[in-house]
Symmetry: C2
Subunit: 380 residues, 2 copies
Amino acid sequence: MAMTRDRKSEPASAAPEAVAEKAPAKRAPAKKAPVKKAVTLKEVAKHLGLSPATVSVVLNRSPVADSIPRETQDRVFAAARELKYRPNHLARSLRSRRTRTVGVLLPEVVEPYATGVLAGLESHLIHKGYFYLVASHRSEQRLLDEYLDLMRTRLVEGMVLIATALEQPPSVPSVVVAGHQKFEGVTNVVLDHDRAADLALRHLLELGHRKIAFFKGQEGNADTADRWRGIQQCAATHGIEIRDELTFQLAGEPGDEISRTEQAFRQGEQYGRRLLERRDEFTAVFAFNDLSAIGVIQALVSGGLRVPEDVSVVGFDDIVNAQYYNPGLTTVRQPLHEMGETAGRILLERLTGEEPAMESAAVVTIEPELVVRDSTAPVR
Amino acid sequence: MAMTRDRKSEPASAAPEAVAEKAPAKRAPAKKAPVKKAVTLKEVAKHLGLSPATVSVVLNRSPVADSIPRETQDRVFAAARELKYRPNHLARSLRSRRTRTVGVLLPEVVEPYATGVLAGLESHLIHKGYFYLVASHRSEQRLLDEYLDLMRTRLVEGMVLIATALEQPPSVPSVVVAGHQKFEGVTNVVLDHDRAADLALRHLLELGHRKIAFFKGQEGNADTADRWRGIQQCAATHGIEIRDELTFQLAGEPGDEISRTEQAFRQGEQYGRRLLERRDEFTAVFAFNDLSAIGVIQALVSGGLRVPEDVSVVGFDDIVNAQYYNPGLTTVRQPLHEMGETAGRILLERLTGEEPAMESAAVVTIEPELVVRDSTAPVR
DNA sequence: ATGCCGAAGTGAAACGTTTGAGTCAGGACT
DNA sequence: AGTCCTGACTCAAACGTTTCACTTCGGCAT
């Protein structure tokens, strides 16, 4: 369906020669368009008196080239350099059926979570000679489907989905960061949420906190279920009571005009105000993410409580805001860069390895890390 | 890779038996790889009893197709849909010499400035059927050059450089966001720094501030010179004295391990401490960006000053941190999304318009906006 | 009957690579 | 003297489109 997507913006009627005519017509002193025609493999071959095949094989260091004498190879390389030969990636991909391109789908390119992962992913991919195409689906299924389609058309070899759930098994090998659905051909890279809950709760326990308020994530968030399970389990282990009156679920409509980022903050604030009504029933808050933690602090402070003296707050993610907030936010750090790198590594291994590219579902867990700053303190 | 061979190629080409031999020979228990071979234009044509040329022309709504009756066209579209035909982007690009892809170069994919622009850029590009490749050069010239090269190999039709200075005229039409160098074929999208300075200083003046400390940007930053000129000019106009002792230049080595983000914050802090020694000589600080503003606030507050009661602080950029900081940061907002969109629009106009793609240098200015929050107040 | 025209396509050459199957000398071995 | 290598390449067919020049056919005017 997407193939009919040509925009009317096409000045299709503009015949190609319109340009040629115009150039001399318009500005007489204008330089003859240099139109640097790229030098092709064939030209290099001709220049060397060899066949394109030979040159190709040498330049690609194909195993077939083993039988070609060192000296010829050197000549080839020298000529390629001299003529500034650059292989045409399109032609190469077309023939070899390898585009060395992967697709990345994420909710929003401005979300720190997504870009943290993206940075790690990029460092690995580029290092291995791959590029990536990005599209933000803004949590709209319609867009997600459309982009999946477009990426297929673009012949990406694999996909990385960041905080983005698939509804159907993907058409190419994929890695989902923070994914929970198991599909054939996709590997999920997930944080070890049990460990995360343990880190945060143990820290609070050691500070003497027993009465803790919790935030649950949005229904749509891939991490919500896992993390909540981790928290429940860990709380049970340590004999911490989870009270419904102190548990708040973040809500968030996909496709809202307000970005999820802002929503989290606002809801943190809002629940903070609710918490003020029960100020004696808790001494700590374990938020779902840093923004909601910051929001809750904002509200608590406005209500006359001090953080961390009266209430300790633990965030999640360790986005830049956490570090530079006042007080510095104690938080469970997700090693986003590492998660991205891992996603990239796994995907490329699948794409280039001898393993069947479409393997059964797999999961890779990443260990979180507790970053203690100034928003937590011993219970007063 | 070897397994991408597929038994469906039988009708067309010879020597399918090589494949047939191998499949059972290698791994008997292995699942038959389904390997969905994409349906090609030729197949659609055959199915319709038409030639590939006709089908191509119709699907592309080429003007040549005008002479083809409505009914045939409908049949073509129907068949394409039915067979789930997806044009092979590589082949198409190779032939038509249009990749519908642009390259984006930026310092770091985690920098809020860059992603703000990127988001705007993406929304325009994807809407017009373009994709983009991204690479982060981490302010290293070596990487920048390398990536420029790779993008050329990938045949991007144009480039967008975000907060990234070129040393040489680019090989394809380009737009530089926050660029100051003028080259043939590149359009610079820049903030109106005169206006920005005016907005900030007038705001401070109206609050009664006369003694103002200033931060200058890093030498390497594209906006530094422009903005400083704007400030000087505007200060002169309003009779504000710029004192050297109250002027601080952010420094930052490219390629430092510490990200620029962090550097800005640290230097803000550091200069904040220096300012504490002159606490009576100023009542306001105009920082270079939000992070350095937040850093300076952190230091001033630690030193016993209150913001905004004792000192007003104005940031620049309006990154998310500004909004959620405590106090909310008054700042000069750069409409990053709009800048990105503009960059995309201009680039595509150049690529598809009838104007010669390589035109002489041009500049587009974007108007900033003052966002007043809680870090500024009337002078006490 | 001839010529011409428009409608409705078709044929085949690109586009720049990669790749599997050959070729072709010249030496080693039998 | 024939066979068999092996080294050093070359040939030509893909890969899936787009594009320009060309054909074919019926109808209409001359």
